[in-house]
């Protein structure tokens, strides 16, 4: 097992290298550069040309890539042209904010959705099942900005239950426990929107996966030898139904860190989603590269975790 993990991690290196070449190439192929979105007629054409030279935008693309690569390996991701500060100074805070919100959302979503999915599978086509089916469809199809605005209108503007947006109360400068509760208070509405969105698909996954298992022969055998229904479902069926769910958990690792642009806009949540979008519009190459590589790495690690997870829950899979 240990050998397997080491081998997989070593494999990541060439994969990441190829990904970085692809991303760099694609980013550079897009027309425009950081200066083309910042039109400033107080500067002269010569000054702008000098700035391009300073940013190394006139170098051949392979050379630019080489410069980026050699620096990044040493942990220097360059300066963001959009923020005029080193990428590694700007980004962590936004990623942390996104992570904070997503962790809460995923934990709640998993805790609620998996039991619901099981119940729906066990009582297939019952009223409960139908209710959650409808709920899932609504949850998946409701645009998050609309749902978000509705929540804000009813629970913040009409009823003064929650702050209308932001992550902390401006000017309150709370510290310690007060800050935690302040953030939690601000988190409720965006968390509801995100939870319902991700619950919907999780419920469907669990239900399907559970149904597949329930209809297997060994479940019938378990029932026929007189085991209690509870034992059948939670001990025999559920463990096997978990296998596909492990895949989903693997995929959620990068999801934990990736922001939701629209939600961040509606709730003014200072996450990474909008930064990512803005970096594309502003052609902030260093920022785009750093973020994309970060997400690529997370995705690869997520896959690795899922594979390890398989080995743990499914004795048929041997990794060596």
């Amino acid at each position: 097992m240990f050998k397997y993990i080491v081998r997989r991690i070593l494999n990541l290196i060439p994969v990441l290298l190829i990904i970085s070449i692809l991303i760099f190439g694609i980013i550079k192929m897009a027309p425009g550069d950081p200066l083309s979105t910042r039109l400033d007629p107080t500067s002269t054409a010569e000054q702008r040309a000098a700035e391009r030279e300073k940013l190394g935008l006139n170098d051949p693309v392979p050379l630019q890539y080489w410069k980026w690569l050699t620096k990044s390996i040493r942990g220097d991701f360059g300066e963001s042209t959009m923020y005029r500060r080193p990428v590694k100074d700007v980004v962590p805070k936004f990623i942390w904010n996104t992570f904070l919100l997503n962790v809460v959302v995923y934990i709640i979503a998993f805790l609620i959705s998996i039991p619901i999915g099981i119940v729906c599978a066990v009582k297939q086509y019952s009223k409960t099942d139908n209710f959650w089916t409808v709920f899932s469809i609504i949850g998946i199809s409701m645009p998050s900005f609309f749902f978000g605005l509705l929540l804000i209108y009813f629970f913040s503007v009409k009823q003064n239950w929650f702050p209308i947006n932001g992550m902390v109360t401006p000017g309150k400068n709370a510290v310690g426990w007060a800050r935690v509760t302040d953030i939690l208070h601000h988190m409720v509405l965006p968390a509801i929107v995100l939870t319902i969105g991700s619950m919907a698909s999780l419920v469907r996954y669990t239900r399907t996966s559970m149904l597949e298992v329930i209809n297997q022969d060994y479940i019938r055998t378990a029932r026929s030898k007189g085991l209690k229904e509870k034992v059948v479902i939670y001990k025999h069926a559920f463990r096997n139904a978990l296998i596909p769910i492990v895949t989903i958990i693997g995929f959620t690792i990068p999801g934990l860190f990736s922001g939701a642009v629209i939600l961040e806009t509606v709730f003014v949540w200072p996450g990474i989603g909008n930064v990512m979008m803005e970096s594309i519009t502003a052609r902030d190459y260093n920022m785009m590269m750093a973020l994309n590589m970060f997400f690529a790495l997370l995705t690869l690690l997520g896959n690795l975790l899922a594979d390890i997870g398989y080995a743990l829950v499914d004795p048929r899979i041997k990794v060596d």
Binding site: Y83, R84, L149, L150, P163, I164, N165, P170, G171
Partner: protein, 567 residues
């Protein structure tokens, strides 16, 4: 310094934010909420902002988010500019009419050859750590922009100073054009006598003892980018990226203490600004898009006032004059006569905008209305095209010498402004025998196509208007080069001569005469089809007293912010 560089505000902002502004989302809540509010509230008693915690001495201003570029030498967007201007004082600022007036300087003298500016500083200014502001600080502020490693957007403020090259490219230890005479006197010597040079002195003065650095060590200054410290009316307290900036009043401010003790710039967007106003979590919301649908929402809140004035920016369609079809002035005029701009302004802004015909603000001393208004007149347009030899062909499109009046209009995505204009322009021009197709691309792509490659027939963008009417960098023929802003290839001797004269003349009345003539040339030649100049709305809760912004005086202006009183 917002003044000279006010043209800055890149189109990304003007277009995607202001103009597309409200189109993007439905605003289900305020629209409904507004109606109900009218019935239940009688104004003052229900003013939600009054019940906010600590509201009596805290002003919350809703604005677009800042990037955290809080240094006079570095910020590039208006919003970061608010923070910079609240924290730092420039030597000069401007009054309501756009004239330079003293701020940190008591007064200044300009030498007879107009090359040397000598500033006498006030001796009662202290930075917020108690240290006095002296000529050394001013010297430092300008020297750091001359640094060889400086990579911010303010180079043009110092590039014409004597000794700039020697310091920037060579190993000079000082910029010879910056001379400290005594603690409170400093002289600047330029290599060119331009009347626009005065605007280089709006630049916020940074305390040398806080930011001090060795020549070349620009990173030491940038490291302090998000913790600005200056002498301004507000003291920077806290910056929460993408959320808000917090200040406290500088009670020892040399023009008098602000009349409230705390100021918060809270970041809002078109999705959130109305609920913020309605809930009273912001007291002032800057730059609400002036449109009929927004008016309805605001009318529903009887505890807010709208301060309305013409925005300092205009939209335009640029004609590529390298194209022989568009090189003919009559064609450009015909295309302008042939588009019902008033109707567009009515449809898009519901009347809260004017069509514009010259690139000078209507409130400027340089503005003239002795110009052609190009009122919609398809007959005149057709007559002009006939005169120019363009005859209607079989397919209804005019042609001449085998060429057709058929254009590709390069434009950008994410803009309701553009989306509204496309069908209107198409159908209006079709009536005069001109065909146009819109080619929509992302803004950065458009910008490259227009400025770097100069490959287009027509394109549209917007410019902000500066306090000074000078537009040399946009319209002078020397700027018709790859990467230059005269991307339409406008070459006109009269225009060049007037733009040069305008910068070289120091007497304002004579300058006004020059810009009047220049306006008439631009208005006749039409390198651009000028489109609209929208209104700007700053919406304030009624508890905010004496709040009055105007085209040249935004919220951070001393005349505006120091006057505000809270109820």
């Amino acid at each position: 310094m917002k003044r000279k560089l006010s043209l800055i505000l890149s189109l990304v902002l003007v277009l995607t934010l202001v103009m597309t502004g409200c189109g993007k989302s439905e605003e289900p809540k305020p629209a409904n909420g507004g109606d109900e509010k009218t019935e239940e509230s009688a104004g003052d008693a229900n003013n939600p902002a009054k019940g906010r915690d600590g509201a009596e001495d805290t002003l919350v201003i809703g604005t677009h988010e800042t990037k955290g570029e809080f240094l006079p030498g570095y910020y590039s967007e208006t919003y970061d500019g608010y923070v910079v201007d609240l924290v730092f004082d420039g030597l000069i600022t401007n009054d309501k009419e756009g004239n330079p007036i003293p701020l940190a300087a008591k007064d200044w003298e300009v030498s007879d050859d107009h090359l040397t500016y000598t500033f006498n500083l006030r001796d009662d200014i202290k930075f917020s750590d108690g240290e006095p502001l002296t000529a050394e600080d001013v010297e430092f502020t300008y020297t750091f922009i001359c640094d060889p490693n400086y990579d911010g957007p303010r180079t043009s403020a110092v590039a014409d100073l004597e000794g700039y090259e020697e310091y920037n490219k060579g190993d000079a230890e000082k910029v010879s054009g910056i001379e400290v005479i005594d603690d409170h006197t400093i002289a600047f010597k330029f290599t060119k006598a331009l009347s626009t040079n005065i605007w280089n002195f709006g630049h916020g003065i940074m305390p040398k003892h806080v930011y001090e650095f060795e020549k070349g060590d620009i990173d030491a200054i940038k490291a302090k980018m998000t913790e600005p410290m200056g002498s301004g009316p507000f003291i920077f307290e806290k910056y929460e990226p993408k959320q808000y900036v917090e200040f406290k009043a500088n009670e020892d401010y040399f023009l008098g203490s602000p009349k409230f003790s705390k100021l918060i710039l809270k970041f809002t967007n078109v999705e959130t600004q109305f609920s913020e106003l309605e809930k009273g979590t912001v007291d002032i919301q800057l730059s609400v898009a002036a449109k009929g649908e927004n008016k309805e929402i605001l009318d529903g809140m009887d505890f807010v006032n709208i301060v309305e004035y013409p925005e300092n920016s205009y939209g335009y369609i640029g004609f590529n004059m390298r194209d022989p079809r568009l090189a003919d002035k009559r064609v450009r005029q015909a295309l302008t006569y042939g588009f019902n701009r008033d109707q567009f302004a009515e449809v898009y802004y519901q009347g809260f905008a004017q069509t514009c015909n010259v690139p000078i603000s209507q409130v400027s001393w340089a503005y003239t209305d002795e110009i052609n208004e190009y009122k919609y007149d398809p007959d005149k347009a057709m007559k002009l095209l006939d005169e120019a030899g363009w005859k209607v062909g079989k397919d209804g499109i005019r042609e001449k010498d085998g060429k057709k009046l058929e254009f590709v209009w390069s434009t950008h995505t994410d803009s309701k402004y553009v989306e509204t204009m496309i069908p209107m322009l198409k159908s209006d021009w079709e009536k005069i025998g001109v065909k146009v197709e819109a080619d929509i691309m992302e803004f950065a792509a458009l910008s490259e196509k227009v400025y770097e490659k100069q490959e287009f027939d027509l394109y549209n963008m917007a410019w902000s208007l500066s306090v000074d009417p000078d537009a040399y960098e946009i319209f002078h023929s020397s700027q018709d080069q790859k990467g230059g802003y005269n991307s339409v290839g406008f070459k006109n001797e009269e225009n060049d001569k007037l733009l040069e004269q305008g910068r070289e003349e120091f007497d304002q009345e004579k300058r006004a005469e020059i810009y009047k003539k220049w306006s008439q040339v631009i208005n006749e030649e039409l390198p651009y089809m000028f489109l609209t100049q929208a209104n700007r709305w700053d919406v304030a809760n009624k508890r905010v007293k004496n709040f009055e912004t105007s085209p040249f005086q935004d919220i951070q202006d001393r005349d505006v912010i120091l006057n505000i009183e809270l109820e």
